[in-house]
């Protein structure tokens, strides 16, 4: 797995095994916290996977906004002289709350939960999940598979056919 170069935002390639283990950690977090929705994405705004109720939520838009929001608050941290970015961001709504935390420099975890759920519990279990994810992601071997293997030359040809269809060319 190629974790890229953090905020510089190189490519991230996730292998099957890694994806499975991430999914297991998120399932555990979902069952412990009873969060309504959990989203795991990268800091470039790409959604990776999600748990819980997701039908009504535009996951890709949510990931893009979460990454943008997190990066904006990282700039705020810099302005006030913090050496690292903020560990988490919490939004409190009337019915729902949202808890954003970074997982290392490259990833982001978003929990959406009922305003009746205790924040302390969310924080404890999220911290455990972040530790597990950080350990998992840091143990990964660099570049097991390359992006160029994913998009071979046939891919190009068929992609253009699909684009022409979508764009009404």
């Amino acid at each position: 797995m190629n974790l890229g170069h953090g905020g510089n935002g190189q490519s991230i390639v996730l292998t099957g095994e890694m994806y499975k283990e991430i999914s297991e950690i998120l399932s555990e977090l979902a069952s412990k916290t009873r969060a309504r929705t959990i989203i795991f994405s990268d800091m470039n705004g790409h959604a990776i996977t999600q748990r819980g109720v997701t039908g009504e939520i535009d996951i890709s838009a949510m990931s893009a906004l979460a990454a943008g929001g997190f990066s904006a608050t990282a700039e705020i941290a810099k302005i006030i002289g913090e050496k690292k970015q903020f560990k988490y961001i919490f939004h409190e709504g009337e019915n729902s709350n949202v808890y954003f935390s970074n997982v290392g420099d490259n990833f982001l975890l978003v929990l959406i939960f009922s305003s009746e759920t205790a924040l302390g519990m969310i924080r404890i279990y999220t911290k455990r999940a972040i530790d597990a994810l950080t350990e998992l992601l840091s143990s990964a071997n660099e570049e097991e598979k390359k992006a160029s293997q994913f998009v071979n030359f046939d891919f190009n040809k068929y992609l253009n056919e699909e684009l022409d269809k979508a764009f009404n060319f």
Binding site: G9, I12, V13, L14, G16, K20, S60, A61, A166, F167
Partner: protein, 194 residues
Amino acid sequence: MFINWAQQEITLKIVYYGPGLSGKTTNLRYIYSHIDASKRGELITLNTKEDRTLFFDFLQLEVGKILGKKPRFNLYTVPGQVYYAHSRRIILSGVDGIVFVADSQRERMEDNLNTLLDLEQNLITMGRTLQDMPLVLQFNKSDLPNSANFELLQQRLNFYRVPHFNSVATTGIGVFETLKMIINQVVNHIQSHA
């Protein structure tokens, strides 16, 4: 770029960059309203009260499966106004390809040039270069009477001789041609570099 082998998904990030009021958001609006709803997400816009882009616009496109693989394209715009430099840098993080939307009007030439230099500077701080970045130039508002001629725009702005299009984003001229070209540039780049 994000690749998930387990799900056979690839997500690419394309950023529309350019000076204020050059038509970046108009490109995305046109794409949003002229592509089948099953192939796109909602258009997210973070605007000021005056309807200028404050942070970014976002639109995800999805075409059918290709050889079992699912490609997705995340399109972003940056805020063009000079004082949103920080926001532009944030949006560029992890970019796979850039569409530079220039304003063809003669009096905007300096703004185009300054924004192009701003882009190059931002890429350098991220350890990347404009020369090695999939890039397409779009000369927008080419229908206006005060637009500079094509040769002049080419000479002043296209120093890396990248693909380019004249466009009128409000009516869609050149919009999908630009998008198809940048997607091709990105995919070719992955095949030859990654």
